[in-house]
Subunit: 341 residues, 2 copies
């Protein structure tokens, strides 16, 4: 089969890779129907996350099961499936508590598998994959693919920030994850949803996803605007979906005392002083999203056309042009690139 391999900074190659095979009886092999490029893929692409060797890339995927190991029971050959970007058994104590992204048998798809490819071996298939009710209409595929990471991640951010009825929610970051957090806050019944964005196309999508207000200012100016809008208190719920120092502190400062901040931007370069988070006195929860927790609900919402997160994809390319997909996102010409084998 063919798949994408990252050799070093800005060097993604689409090349022949060995066909994946069932290794463990809990594995499944899926034929990728659609995959995409993630904001977090840009970290190694830009060389900020170092690689020790050429690495297969990609961790978002939907596809059709081609083969299963002898112990796989929840998905069968021919099923259309959506999977999380973290492998999980979904039975350990951590999974049962809803933190499948920290499963005791967990591994990152990005680090070991690479789904920007024609086929992929998914370990612990029963605990990682969820089958759709049937073969999806073509127009549902982008949204189902979004559920695999960006929607699930925005959803987790919104859940970690305890969005809900009566709450004012601010979302820092207007990338695909931030936009999906807006959508999630809307679904969770938030009263007011403030998208922090300075790009008109993204503002438009944020409005469509449920944002009631747009704030274009950043950093402490952005914080001041949020305070102005909330009687000087700050938002009840803030989602940080960027991962930079400025965005992280903007989120900390925009959250009211006793409020909740969910942070889902991978924050490689963020450093926080203890006193900042002590005196902010806010609830903090971040990390790789336990997408598997949300998948059944998200698939149901998409299947019934109640949400359309697939709109975050504004560029679709054939998989063999994966390198251009990275470049378009790196240069901010695209919010998110969908790839079709």
């Amino acid at each position: 089969m063919r798949g994408a391999v990252l050799y070093g900074p800005r060097d993604v190659r689409f090349e022949e890779r060995e066909d994946p095979k069932i290794i463990e009886p809990t594995d499944a092999i899926i034929r990728i129907a659609a995959t995409c490029v993630c904001g977090s893929d840009l970290w190694p692409f830009r060389g900020i996350e170092q690689l020790s060797r050429p690495q297969p890339v990609g961790h978002e995927y939907v596809g059709i099961v081609e083969d299963i190991g002898s112990e796989v029971k929840n998905v069968g050959v021919g099923d259309f499936v959506v999977g999380s970007f973290v492998i999980s058994d979904n039975t350990c104590e951590i999974c049962r508590a809803g933190y499948q992204s920290r499963c005791v048998h967990g591994e990152f798809v990005a680090q070991t598998i690479g789904t920007q490819s024609e086929l992929a071996r998914i370990p612990l298939a029963d605990g990682t994959l969820v089958a759709t009710p049937g073969m999806p209409d073509e127009d549902l595929i982008p949204s189902l693919l979004a559920a695999s990471d960006v929607l699930g991640t925005g959803w987790f951010g919104a859940a970690a920030a305890k969005t809900g009825p009566g709450k004012t929610v601010a979302v820092v970051g207007d990338g695909a994850v931030g936009l999906c957090a807006v959508l999630a806050a809307k679904q969770m019944g938030a009263e007011r949803i403030i998208a922090m964005s300075r790009h008109s196309d993204r503002q438009k999508l944020a409005r469509e996803f449920g944002a009631t207000d747009i704030v274009t200012e950043r950093g402490e100016e952005g914080v001041a605007r949020i305070k102005d809008m909330t009687n000087g208190l700050g938002a009840h719920s803030v989602v940080e979906a960027v991962g930079t120092q400025e965005a992280f502190m903007q989120a900390v400062h925009a959250t009211r005392p006793g409020g909740h901040m969910g942070f889902v931007g991978v924050n490689y370069e963020v450093h926080v002083s203890g006193l900042e988070i002590f005196f902010a006195q806010i609830h903090l929860l971040g990390g790789p999203a336990p997408v598997r927790r949300f998948l059944p609900e998200l698939i149901d919402l998409i299947w019934n056309r109640r949400i359309n997160p697939g709109k975050v994809f504004d560029l679709t390319l054939p998989l063999d042009q994966v390198a251009e997909g990275y470049r378009a996102m790196d240069e901010r010409r695209a919010i998110k690139t969908l790839l079709r084998p």
Copy 2:
């Protein structure tokens, strides 16, 4: 009246200060029945927190109301009262949400009033003070005084760490606050309470307060012991009651993914990398405890002799020996010093 004033590092003087008077109609003047020295008083005493001028010190107090302003309704002259170390109106939106330590009209008693004195003016008396059901027996006074800060702070730490039935709780720090967090976890119904302590007298009190296990190792060795005791997962709930870098990271690493860490040690010198708290994937909540939220319940438990947090005081001195009280704690000769005017 006489009171303690900190002039600089290790220079506490007991001297004549002006008698406090009603300034605002919401003020009360109380005659201090007992006060004490807090672990956090040691930060300016040691010069780690810098002072710009000589400052009255002390923020823990119980006493008898001597005078009230014209608008005070909830406490009257002659009442025995317990107050929080943070002034709060207890009516603003932040107070009503339970974060009275971040009241929009809040101020720190430590920074403006100083209760290591014979009298004190307490602003916003209705929102800050709680009267006991009557004049307390002498033996209850240390416990009521503890409610003013260390018990309330340990309680907040345990609440922030979501201790409760079925939970394994680890407490980092065996000072008065850590010991009170053990007591709180016990009251909240935790299944297993692990006190991290290497001092035999404090271990003894921790056991008395409800600890089921003692871990003497610190840092990553301490973390390994907690993991050993929890199927490799870490504790559900961890209370950090020290404030150093080592203790903070010990607490982060001892908390299982999806678990909760309450941090109540004032963490002047702690610096956290974003990635550490991202991949730890734990709920974090810290800050100055909203003691006022808990005071009615704590007073009730003490009044009915269901808890005896006053045992954290292992040194009692007359108020005029306040400087010796600081030294005894600084040199770890005492867990906590009670002062009687």
